[in-house]
Amino acid sequence: MKQILIVDDAATVRMYHRAIVEGAGYGVTEAVNGVEALERALDAAFDLYIVDVNMPQMDGYAFLRALRGQDMPQAPAIMVSTEGEDGDRRQALAAGANLYLVKPARPEGLLRHVRLLLGEPA
């Protein structure tokens, strides 16, 4: 079973994303900010990360930069952000995200991208 780490400070969003990917048969772990996410990522290997931008203590950009700086197997990361002032696609890519999606990600759209990044047939 492929494992996904969902990083978001909003419990509702975590739950929403979890419902979408769990329903498609993926395992889910949650983290409420970058610090916790980094601890989880160092603990166990994930196949995909779904990361929010704005979080207290350590935001999504800082988490991705730290993650990409680790000497360990790397997995794709989707950065989700509410469009607008802090939704900057280039900044997300530059921090180490591989795909930038605007929140709210509709279930079918999110799932389609998750399956693409994980190499699942259509």
Binding site: V13, E85, Q91
Partner: protein, 769 residues
């Protein structure tokens, strides 16, 4: 919308949002009393932002509109565009009451009641408080930000338009110009601005194919707002780009134009393939080709995993064979170039993405997407891999060493073989080669020169984000962005500078109210300035914040056991301030996420030392702090003063040498435990090189009983290094000490001299500690 009981996400939403609403109400009341409480403001913004994000997951348009308007208002307040005032709190509290009311409806009936009128009134009231300049900032979509979905949409739509595109490409009238893809997304409120998007779209010249679609899926009929424009016009035109831009000149931000290539061979699921290729292409977008940064391998691996997934998902695993090779090469060099080349090769046939935006100051402008050479601008720019330039530089370095051998040869011709004529000719030839090699060196340096803007351009955004997160107001001033230095120097500077700036914002700048209380303007000033001084580049980071309190530093350094009482007593305030550079020193009381993550100023200093540079910190309590980094323009060739001591020759880096003097033995005085001489009215401590290198010999004096002294400036002080004799200055290629000698900090490195001997170059900073 399903019923509440069957929807745990909705239950979670209500619970989290109710907590959020309570927090918002409390924050608003607190802010009424203390409007300058930046931390409160940040917290408030974050909660509203989360609320909006959560609300967006559901189909509650009235609630969403109100929260969105509230967020835009908060955002303008936090950006300092408007001051927080009483009427604002009222409007926000009313808005939150409305949201709470809607939530109660959801709790009871599973869906909010009709709040359309109330929402419209509240939204208008909140929007009226946002100044015109800030209005819409939250909704602005720059063409770049929206590029990903656009290129994916374009690729999808082009499959429908394919015959028209093929015909347009074959059309002789359009030959020489690829047809253009035009996407026009009128803004939702355009009907209230006297615009007629349909007419605008119909009048577009040169159209060979078009369709109208929706920007977002249509909401249910009950929620449909007929006054909001939800249209998206797509077209393929053969009109020249200028004509299209002219046509949309009043709404440039609502239009996206890209060249169209004939569609690639169709595949089983064209939309999915286009999406996959768009993602593959995006992997190269933000990877700097020769980053050299520590996270490059990680990012290359993540990009590899992503590309692999995308291609497997669309059944194109056949493309992956040579990808692994490229990635191996990329990891070996810790550079992304091979991977970028692969992406470029394999996405040519896919949807043409718009070229990434390139700041004007960046010399390496991306070539325009397209395959015709005549697109190229007249001033030809050649992109060269760094490795090739490095090889050229190494060869020139060897050339310098070989050139330095000629004077020795001339000397031998004269002294050993008695051929004076020949010696003269060799010297003449040496002069010619000398000139050419100097110019070659200069030329290769020019190739590697990079403007400071390469590093500076990231700061406006960084400073804005950090200041905002800390609730501080900061005005960033950049000076001397065009100052150039060697690529390596510039790149190695990036991280230390980021750290320094973070420190300045985190520890140096005060909160706006604290600044006002101190009689300063609320907005702090942070200056990043670069300038060239002789063959060095000087970078200053100055803030007008609270400065560094020497007393606190003393206390702290003492508490951490970094210095003892006696040392503290002898220290001036300025010296005490410089204790922050000691390893293990960090003034941050609380570890925030900005600075103080175990990377202290000692890391900055060692990075600068590694570049053969110096750091100076000056600070006035209450007035601000200034850090000055002085670095060599380039690190390839260094000037060294060759000196003799204890029967051997040593090199001393010229950039530390202030002057060479001969001091009469009688003018050397014993001061305390040390010897010193008075030079130019200043007392200069003297240290013998033999003594420092633990050699038994005493320093030799010349016939006039004078000591040869090299005055060096180390860590801001003048020191006299006593040696036996000076032997002149030479340009050498300094190789760092490797292997077993690598741990010898006493030596900066070694250099090969023209006669084949090895010169050890000392590192005075370490030696004179």
């Amino acid at each position: 919308m399903t019923t509440l009981a069957s929807n745990p996400v909705l239950q979670q939403f209500l619970q989290e949002s109710r907590e959020g609403l309570e927090g918002i109400a409390a924050s608003l009341l607190a802010l009424e009393r203390a409007p300058d409480d930046g931390a409160r403001m940040d917290e408030l913004f974050r909660v509203v932002h989360t609320l909006k994000g959560n609300c967006g997951l559901f189909d509650f348009p009235d609630m969403f509109r109100v929260i969105h308007a509230a967020e835009d208002l908060m955002s303008a307040v936090r950006a300092g565009q408007i001051a927080f005032g009483g009427g604002m709190a009222d409007a926000l509290l009313d808005a939150m009451d409305f949201v709470a009311q809607q939530m109660d409806d959801i709790d009871v009936a599973g869906r909010p009641g009709n709040g359309h009128t109330a929402a419209a009134a509240l939204t208008a009231r909140l929007r009226a408080l946002v100044p015109a300049a800030a209005a819409g900032a939250g909704d602005m979509r720059t063409p770049v930000e929206a590029a990903a979905p656009q290129s994916a949409r374009m690729a999808a739509a082009l499959t429908l338009a394919e015959p028209a595109v093929r015909a347009a490409c074959a059309d002789p009238a359009a030959a020489g110009a690829a047809p253009l893809w035009v996407e026009y997304a009128p803004e939702p409120e355009c009907f209230f601005k006297g615009e007629d998007p349909l007419y605008q779209a119909l009048q577009l010249p040169g159209v060979v194919w078009r369709r109208v679609t929706t920007a977002d899926a249509w909401p249910a009929a009950a929620q449909l707002d007929p006054y909001r424009c939800n249209l998206l016009f797509q077209a393929v035109t053969t009109a020249p780009r200028a004509a299209v831009e002219e046509h949309f000149r009043y709404v440039p931000e609502q239009v996206w134009i890209a060249p169209v290539e004939p569609p690639a061979a169709p595949c089983a699921d064209p939309e999915r393939a286009a999406e996959a290729f768009a993602i593959v292409r995006a992997q190269g977008e933000a990877l700097a080709p020769d980053d050299g940064a520590p996270w490059v391998p990680g990012r290359v691996l993540a990009a590899l995993a992503t590309i692999r997934g995308c291609l497997r998902a669309i059944g194109r695993a056949d493309l992956l064979d040579d990808l692994e090779v490229c990635v191996a090469a990329a990891l070996e060099d810790a550079a992304a170039t091979p991977l970028l080349a692969w992406i470029e090769r394999h996405t040519q046939g896919a949807a043409a993405a718009p070229p990434p935006p390139v700041p004007v100051a960046q010399p390496e402008a991306e070539p325009k997407f397209g395959r015709r050479a005549d697109d190229q601008p007249a001033g030809r720019i050649l992109k060269v891999e760094q490795a090739k330039v490095d090889r050229l530089m190494n060869l020139i370095g060897e050339m310098v060493v070989a050139r330095n051998g000629l004077p020795y040869l001339a000397g031998r011709a004269e002294n050993q073989y008695g051929a004076r004529e020949l010696a003269r000719e060799i010297k003449a030839q040496h002069a010619v080669i000398n000139r050419i090699v100097d110019e070659m060196q200069d030329a290769i340096m020019q190739v590697r020169m990079t403007p400071m803007s390469f590093v500076f351009q990231r700061f406006p955004r960084l400073v804005r984000d950090i200041a905002r997160r800390l609730g501080k107001e900061v005005e960033l001033v950049l000076e001397g962005e065009t100052t150039e230095a060697d690529k390596n120097v510039i790149e190695a500077l990036a991280d230390p500078l980021v750290h320094i700036v973070r420190n300045a914002l985190d520890h140096g700048m005060e909160q706006p109210d604290e600044r006002r209380a101190a009689g300063k303007p609320a907005a702090g000033r942070l200056v990043l300035a670069a300038r060239q001084e002789a063959d060095r580049v000087v970078i200053e980071v100055a803030d007008d914040g609270r400065g560094i309190d020497p007393a606190r530093i003393r206390q702290k350094a003492h508490a951490k056991g970094l210095v003892d009482e006696a040392q503290l007593g002898r220290m001036s305030d300025q010296e005490a301030v410089n204790l922050v550079f000691l390893p293990g020193f960090s003034t941050a009381e609380a570890v925030s996420d900005l600075s103080g993550r175990g990377v202290g100023m000692d890391a900055v200093r060692s990075a600068v030392d590694g570049l053969n540079g110096t750091v100076q910190l000056t600070s006035v309590a209450g007035r601000g702090t200034r850090l000055q980094l002085t670095l060599p323009l380039s690190m390839a060739v260094s000037s060294v003063m060759i000196v003799e001591s204890g029967g051997a020759r040593y090199g001393v880096p010229m950039d530390l040498v202030v002057e060479t003097v001969r001091v009469p033995a009688g003018a050397v005085h014993a001061i305390g435990q040390r010897e010193a001489a008075v030079l130019r009215g200043r007392i200069v401590p003297l240290r013998g090189l033999n003594e420092l290198l633990l050699l038994p010999d005493t320093q030799r004096r010349n016939d006039a009983d004078e000591l040869a002294v090299l005055v060096l400036r180390v860590q801001g002080q003048n020191l006299g290094l006593v040696i036996d004799d000076f032997c002149g200055v030479m340009e050498v290629i300094l190789k760092p000490m490797a292997g077993i000698l690598g741990s010898l900090a006493t030596y900066a490195g070694s250099a090969l001299l023209g006669d084949g001997s090895v010169l050890m170059v000392i590192n005075p900073k370490e030696l004179l500690q």
